[in-house]
Each structure stands twice: as structure tokens, then as C-alpha cells.
Amino acid sequence: MNKKWPIIIGIAVALVFSIYPLRYANAFCCMGIILAGMQGAVLRGRAQGFKLETTHALRLGASIGLGAAVIMLLINTLIGLTLKNWIVFDPIPSFMYTFFFRLIEGIIDIAGNTPSFSDNGGPGPMARFLFQIPSNVLFGGIGGAIGASLFRQETPIFQHPE
């Protein structure tokens, strides 16, 4: 397997979890990006004969998080310039989540009145994707590290003295 494939597939996993309607499956919020980092690390580990250094996996997961965040930023900026208020990739669409939860609770009509934290100042809607870069890098790195731990050798809690 080409060395770049785990990164490409990892980014694809992160993006899939950010595209309508699959983003609704992202019930655990940061699950999409952590899974993407894990996926990349597992693929790289398998390609290297089930051995993967943690620092390598951390870098891989962080690269996947960074790549996914940059692609989301670029595509959303490009589409936002041509079609106003259009966001293609959004892992956590707060408005839709509110709608979804209130649908369950039986209150549909007030779904559109979600308070926005950016109303009182702050960086603005497009900057959200810029802010997504550090959080994606962090959670991608965590996913990569978790992926690397899957290749650890078993060490039981109680060991006989040698």
C-alpha cells in the first residue's frame, strides 16, 4: 500500500462523517475525526506488518485531522462564495441537531430559533472551519494514538516474577 493511502482514506472517513445525511450518525460528536485517525493508523500498521510507532501514528492522525479540516475550509469557502449560506461539509451542524432533538421531543416549530454563541461577537461562521483545524489535529492525533495502541503486545495485570 502506498504510504499516502492511509492518510487519503482517513480524510475520506472524516469527510464522510461530515456530509449530509451521514453526519446524523455522528452521535458522539468527535467520533468521526477520532475514527478517521484510528482508521489511518490501523491501515498504516497493517501495511507495516502490524507494527506502528506511536509518534508515527500521532503524526498520521494529526495529518488526517489537518487535511480534513483544510479540505472542509476550502470547499465551504468556495461554495460559500458562490452560494451564500451554503455549507457542504459540517460535522456538527448545531441547527440540524437542535431540529433533530426537538423533533424527538415533539417541538418542531421552534427548531429554527437556536441561539448562536457567535451572536455576541466571536469569529463568525466561516472562521468556525478555521477553528476546526486545531481541534481536528488534536482529535485526529488522539485517534491515531488509539489506533497505534491496537497493535500493542499483551501484558497481563499480574505477571509471574521472572
Binding site: 452521535a27 458522539f28 460528536c29 468527535c30 475525526i33 477520532i34 502490524f50 510507532e53 506511536t54 509518534t55 501514528a57 500521532l58 479540516a69 460535522p91 456538527i92 451542524p93 448545531s94 441537531y97 437542535t98 432533538f101 424527538i104 437556536t114 441561539p115 454563541f117 457567535s118 455576541n120 461577537g121 466571536g122 469569529p123 472562521a127 468556525r128 472551519f129 477553528f131 476546526q132 486545531p134 481541534s135 481536528n136 488534536l138 482529535f139 488522539i142 494514538a145 488509539i146 497505534a148 495502541s149 491496537l150 497493535f151 500493542r152 503486545q153 499483551e154 501484558t155 497481563p156 495485570i157 499480574f158 505477571q159
Partner: protein, 174 residues
């Protein structure tokens, strides 16, 4: 019992530091000035829906992440201390480790899924508890990975200055 090795401590500390920063940042908004709050909220906006009715509030100000996410984040430092208590044990094989991860996500999945289909109405407690289970297992894996990473780094490299010297030593001719 298994003993902590040289790199384990540094890995453990790094994992604990990351976990505490995560918990600290996510819990910070109620304690920050109103002008800084939205910036912290935006940092977490990409990784949490932040719906106020599904988040804890302090003095009427919501935390930066929802109930389940704060439970998930709190699981990381708990896992760090569990890793310390178990002295860095890794009682999982390459086959059982993914299974344990999936099983730890199951309570959260069921809590969410049953609420979705109307069999069960999840509560802040159930969301935090199920997030905590997943976070503790994920955090244990994360801490173990960092401990292993620092241990690998603390091992002398085959190309350390001494071995380099041996490799590059000129051959003597007689």
C-alpha cells in the same frame, strides 16, 4: 506486578496533561469574560453540537461541550489514573482490543438509539455516564499509546553516537 518503565512516566504525564487541558478548556466558558467565551465555543464547535439544553450550565452559562462529550473528556484523566493504578498493564490482545473499544461505545450507542426510536428517554446522567465509559476506555488506550511512544523514544537508538562511532571507525591496515 508490572512496573512503570522510564518512558512510561513521561508518556503518562503527557496523556494526563492533554486530558486535563481538554477538560479545562471545555469547562472554561462560564469562568471567562463574555468577549472571550465565543472563541472557546468555536474551538469545540467542530467536535460538539453544543446544544444548550443538552449541556451543563454554571451560573446560567453552558460549558463548551454537551453532556456526553464532557463525560467522554472526563474519562481521559480517569483512565490516566487507572493506567497508573494498574501500573501500565495492557490486558488486551490485538483481537480483543478493538472489541473492547466497540463494547465501550455500545452503552452510548444504545442510550442514543433507544432515545431515537422512543424506547427510552435519555437523561443528563445517562449521557454523562455512557460518555464516561467510552472516554475511560478510549483514554486508557490513548495513555497506553503515549507511554509506549515515550518508552520507544527513551530506548537507545542503534545509531546512537557510540554505535555511530563504532560503525564509522576506520579500518586499520597492517
Amino acid at each position: 506486578m508490572i512496573q512503570f518503565k522510564e518512558g512510561d512516566w513521561r508518556g503518562w504525564l503527557a496523556a494526563l496533561a492533554v486530558s486535563l487541558v481538554l477538560v479545562g478548556l471545555a469547562s472554561a466558558p462560564p469562568f471567562l469574560p463574555v468577549s472571550i467565551r465565543p472563541w472557546i465555543m468555536e474551538v469545540f464547535a467542530g467536535v460538539c453540537h453544543q446544544i444548550p439544553s443538552r449541556s451543563f450550565h454554571i451560573d446560567g452559562v453552558p460549558l463548551a461541550v454537551c453532556h456526553r462529550c464532557i463525560g467522554f473528556y472526563l474519562g481521559f484523566p480517569i483512565a490516566g489514573f487507572l493506567f497508573l493504578f494498574l501500573k501500565g498493564a495492557w490486558p488486551f490482545s490485538s483481537k480483543t482490543a478493538p472489541l473492547v473499544l466497540v463494547l465501550s461505545a455500545l452503552p452510548a450507542g444504545l442510550d442514543w438509539g433507544f432515545d431515537f426510536i422512543g424506547w427510552w428517554s435519555n437523561t443528563p446522567t445517562s449521557r454523562v455516564a455512557t460518555g464516561l465509559v467510552l472516554g475511560t476506555v478510549a483514554g486508557y488506550f490513548f495513555t497506553a499509546a503515549l507511554a509506549e511512544g515515550f518508552r520507544q523514544k527513551s530506548k537507545p537508538s542503534p545509531l546512537s553516537p557510540v554505535s555511530k562511532h563504532v560503525i564509522s571507525a576506520p579500518k586499520t591496515t597492517q
